[in-house]
């Protein structure tokens, strides 16, 4: 006799899955990948591919030989980590090799050592990125200038990024805001074009994978804080529009800080989290040793996330 299933209610499911979410994030990253290939050519393509392949390979190896659990590489999360790691490094030929080391740290230490997807306290791609930044400060801060479109050469001419210009104390040589918006500037692969980032972010918002809270709080706080500094001394500090369009703020606010696993769950927690990221970013940029502080800011706030989850409870229906 055929047996029927029994289980507790509910008996239907929204059909949402982790896999779908991760593949949608990958889809949202494609505009940035295309822009990176357009501006940085072959290097950008190679770095992205190498990074993704290493991430997948490391996750597969760790699951097979160390954790001895079924492989989860098809859930797409290692690809997200790989792409985001690639988007956070300069498009130089040295990075094609170094990004593999970043991938090992990102997947091995950042993610799998905690038990895999969902258990990691820090954003894996940022763990990998910061490891590279501290270990290879020269290579990680040598940015190629954006020259003609689709360069097919591995060798690049290095030049300063807008934030490096700022660190050296000049605001005159900065590109215009629209150049920053389209991204024809020096910088890491994925951070140059605010437009491409926004396209991806709007897709994620429509798909309800991210909510507006973290990006708006992050960018808004960075904007307001920069505006205050700029009003105090416009000679020394950059105007707020340039400030939020340069460096990794856009990429960080829309794709790194919004990582579900490492950000708070309640809306209030997310607003505090975003604001903290924005504040720390500008503090590091203005008074820290590094020209850019997005990665550190997000990692520091990642560490605060469990506390925010504890403090910021959703409003209860019945009190």
């Amino acid at each position: 006799m055929k047996l029927l299933n029994i289980s507790g209610s509910p008996h239907v499911h929204s059909d949402e899955s982790t896999k779908k979410i991760m593949w949608r994030v990958n889809l949202a990253l494609i505009p940035m990948l295309l822009v990176a290939i357009a501006y940085f050519g072959l290097n950008a393509l190679l770095i992205s591919i190498v990074s993704v392949v290493w991430c997948l390979l490391f996750q597969w190896l760790i699951e097979k030989f160390i954790m001895k659990t079924p492989s989860t590489i098809s859930d797409g999360s290692a690809i997200v980590t790989g792409l985001l790691l690639a988007f956070n490094v300069p498009a130089t030929k040295e990075m094609i090799l170094l990004v593999g080391l970043g991938a090992l740290v990102a997947i091995g230490i950042g993610k799998m050592s905690f038990g895999g997807l969902g258990k990691n306290p820090f954003n894996p791609a940022l763990v990998g990125r910061v490891f590279l930044l501290i270990s290879f400060p020269v290579q990680m801060t040598t940015w190629p200038t954006a020259g003609k479109l689709f360069p097919m050469t591995l060798d690049t001419v290095s030049g300063p990024t807008p934030l490096m210009l700022l660190k050296e104390g000049g605001t005159e040589a900065l590109p215009q805001a629209w150049e920053l918006f389209l991204g024809h500037i020096g910088g890491s692969l994925g951070e140059v074009s605010a437009l491409a980032i926004l396209i991806g972010a709007i897709y994620l918002l429509c798909r309800k994978i991210i909510t507006w809270h973290i990006p708006v709080a992050f960018i808004g706080t960075a904007f307001v804080f920069s505006a205050i500094l700029w009003l105090v001394n416009p000679e020394l500090y950059v105007d707020p529009v340039t400030s939020i369009l340069t460096g990794g703020i856009m990429l960080g606010a829309c794709f790194m800080a919004t990582d579900m696993v490492t950000s708070p769950m309640s809306k209030v927690g997310q607003l505090i989290f975003g604001a903290g990221c924005g504040l720390l970013t500008i503090i590091i940029r203005t008074w820290g040793a590094y020209p850019e502080g997005v990665s550190f800011a997000i990692l520091i706030m990642n560490a605060v996330t469990p506390l925010l989850n504890r403090w910021c409870k959703p409003a209860r229906f019945a009190c």
Binding site: V12, H13, S14, L117, G118, A318
Partner: protein, 442 residues
């Protein structure tokens, strides 16, 4: 449009049996009448083996406070007073009756004529509700005479009639409104009189435009009945959410609707109140939907209580399709998977939902990715992911502190979880553990 304010989800509606008019289910050869078809203590059998009974005769008497009378749904001979396994496979006291003919108690008015006048006093109405064994048909089967006896020091201000039917698939309320709008309005007027409130609000989800217009038209002939279309969002028909949608009030944690001046009854209950008060007909029949995507035909039946689920399936669709994965009593969000198809139906039964294998399958569970979708979906503003972790680790006191008992088990958390974590199951387990802990402390 009015709605509850917090959380909620949008499951696929699947109201495929909307247009199936109510048919009469033929009598089986035997019925089994459970003695606790309601919330509270079982009724006490007042017939003995070998007794002849008529349709509508009292066979189980409410002797405890929280209890309801049970009447014979058929005429025939009592063959045994024993236990019978219910749909969950748990043995309950029951009366077995062999069906012989269809002879009704004389006092029951079986004419189709609609009786509009009701001259009973509120107290008499409540007494008659008790006599007729009326219970809430929205799911909880709360005895109606207790609900409509407002305790000393409390005052009812709103009567809310729940015709939301937010559960996917179910259409029994839909059909009752389409076919018995006037009787419902009379029943609502009687309940309004019993409570002494100025207005009754009938909440209907906006995906039922025809019943909304039918009820709105009909309510114009009655004083103090307001039809309130509500936004399509699950669980709009959950008691606390419905009160919130219609009155803006919130039932505090651990309190009852009457504490905020509200009494909520299902639209099906209003119909059975009409039959009980105006026609002297006890609660011996209810409307039951037989539905499912893969079954050959869709039905709504008027069914005598005590007929087995197997009998219903046999009459409605012959046999379950080969690919059947699960049979559910109730809707897919809160209904119970039937363990024992030989179990009899009860007063609260609302449907037989046949799900096919693919639909009934649960996807494998993966790691929580802390997306917070469960907390966003929770209409009570709770944190299901937290309960899941606390219950698994045996931290029951903490679960209690985070108000696990506020959970209404609507299933929104599990429904929306991308990691397919059985959150509602874990919370149910946690609630039981909390209750056990509280009982042990007492």
């Amino acid at each position: 449009m009015k709605t509850f304010k917090m959380g909620g989800v949008h499951p696929e509606e699947n109201k495929i049996s909307n247009d199936a008019v109510i048919e009469q289910m033929p009598l089986p050869s035997q019925v089994v009448v459970l003695m606790n078809q309601h919330l509270g203590a079982p009724a006490t059998p007042v017939v003995a083996k070998g007794d002849k009974v008529k349709v509508g005769q009292l066979i189980g008497e409410a002797q405890a406070f929280m209890c309801a009378n049970v009447h014979s749904p058929v005429s025939g001979t009592v063959t045994k007073i024993d236990t019978c396994k219910d749909i969950a496979g748990i043995a309950k006291p029951a009366i077995y009756i062999n069906v012989e003919g269809d002879e009704w108690v004389d006092t029951i008015d079986r004419t189709p004529e609609i009786k509009r006048e009701c001259n009973l006093e509120p107290k008499e109405i409540v007494a008659k509700l008790k006599e007729m064994g009326i219970v809430g048909l929205g799911g909880a089967t709360f005895p109606a005479h207790i609900k409509y006896s407002v305790p000393e020091g409390k005052k009812a201000e709103y009567l809310i009639i729940n015709a939301v039917e937010c559960e996917p698939y179910l259409t029994s309320d839909y059909r009752v409104m389409m076919e018995h709008a006037e009787e419902i309005c009379i029943g609502v007027s009687i309940l309004r009189k019993a409570l002494g409130v100025p207005n009754a609000y009938i909440g209907i989800e906006n995906n039922k435009p025809v019943p909304i217009s039918v009820m709105t038209e009909m309510s114009k002939n009655f004083q103090g009945i307001v039809v309130e279309p509500l936004k399509v969002k699950y669980p709009q028909g959950a008691e606390k959410q419905l009160i919130n949608a219609i009155t803006g009030r919130k039932v505090p944690s651990g309190k009852l609707p009457i504490d905020v001046g509200c009494v909520v009854s299902n639209v099906g209950t209003a119909f059975s109140v009409y039959e009980a008060i105006q026609k002297n007909k006890p609660l011996i029949e209810n409307i039951l939907t037989v539905t499912g995507k893969k079954i050959p035909s869709q039905h709504n039946y008027q069914v005598r209580i005590g007929i087995t689920y197997n009998d219903i399936i046999k009459h409605a669709i012959g046999a379950l399709p080969e690919t059947t994965g699960k049979v559910i009593s109730g809707g897919p969000m809160m209904g119970k998977a039937i363990v024992n198809l030989d179990a009899p139906t009860t007063k609260g039964a609302s449907s037989v939902l046949v799900m096919d294998e693919a639909e009934a399958r649960r996807n494998p569970e993966t790691n929580c990715i802390r997306c917070g979708k469960c907390a966003n979906a929770c209409p009570m503003g709770l944190e299901p992911y937290l309960f899941s972790a606390l219950v698994k680790n045996g931290r029951i006191e903490e679960a209690q502190k985070h108000n696990i008992l506020d959970c209404i088990e609507c299933g929104c958390c599990f429904f929306s979880c991308p990691a397919n974590k059985p959150l509602t199951d874990e919370i149910r387990l946690g609630k039981n553990r909390v209750r056990a802990m509280m009982a042990a402390k007492r």
